[in-house]
């Protein structure tokens, strides 16, 4: 069974902290994605990666960066967390489009 695993289900951090969200997939997919989900806004793409060390900005990349050192792992980094980054973060992988999502990380920035 395909798995996209996000390292934390819930995370609480403080304003100004550097935050790492980790995601691992076991399907050997080329493409990996980071989304955030907010009420009334649906899912918005933050960054995606189509190969190791390759990344592309999504619709809302400001305040975030990503790292993809290995094919199976895609990390989202909040450089200096702010309260408006409190959200549900979803990682996905797929051959082209996101086919499989992780269960999400609910991140609260205090």
């Amino acid at each position: 069974d395909v798995k996209v695993t996000q390292s934390s289900r819930y995370l609480v951090k403080r304003t100004g902290e550097k935050v790492f969200l980790e995601c691992v997939q076991d399907m050997d997919h080329e493409n990996m994605f980071w989304y955030r989900q907010d009420p009334g806004l649906g899912l918005r793409l933050i960054y995606f990666s189509y190969d190791v060390k390759m990344k592309e900005k999504g619709d809302i990349p400001e305040g975030y960066s990503v790292s993809r050192e290995k094919k199976e792992r895609f990390s989202l980094i909040l450089e200096s967390a702010s309260t408006n980054q409190t959200s549900m973060y979803l990682c996905a992988s797929g051959l082209y489009q996101p086919q499989h999502f992780g269960d999400g990380t609910r991140l609260s920035i205090l």
């Binding site: 649906g42 899912l43 992780g102």
Partner: protein
């Protein structure tokens, strides 16, 4: 500017009846459309997709219809089952590149 719109935040349907979820889009360049289903505390699950060269795609109880002239797509679930209760997102892309999601419709199936 919301390019993909799901105007009904919620929908309730009797078990065994047809559920119809609607989605409208504004970007005429969109040529690939997908539906996802999301249960609470889980990530979305891909359900069904359709390319703009088709106007219908069927997979078991799920059928997606695309009306390009109206920039409208719909997901039909027949017959509806209690396990179909979830939030449904439609999404669209240009040339199979990055997806734009709608805001979701919460479907509740009443036993």
């Amino acid at each position: 500017d919301q390019q993909v719109k799901q105007n009904s935040p919620s929908l309730s349907v009797q078990e065994g009846r047809i559920s119809i979820l609607n989605c409208d889009y504004t970007n005429s360049m969109f040529d690939y459309f997908l539906w996802y289903k999301k249960y609470p505390a889980e990530g979305p699950t891909f359900l069904i997709s359709i390319s703009s060269i088709k106007d219908k795609n069927e997979d078991g109880r799920f059928t997606v219809f695309l009306n390009k002239s109206a920039k409208h797509l719909s997901l039909h679930i027949v017959p509806s089952q209690p396990g179909d209760s979830a939030v449904y997102f439609c999404a669209a892309s240009v040339s199979n590149e990055k997806l734009t999601f709608g805001t979701g419709t919460r479907l509740t199936i009443i036993p």
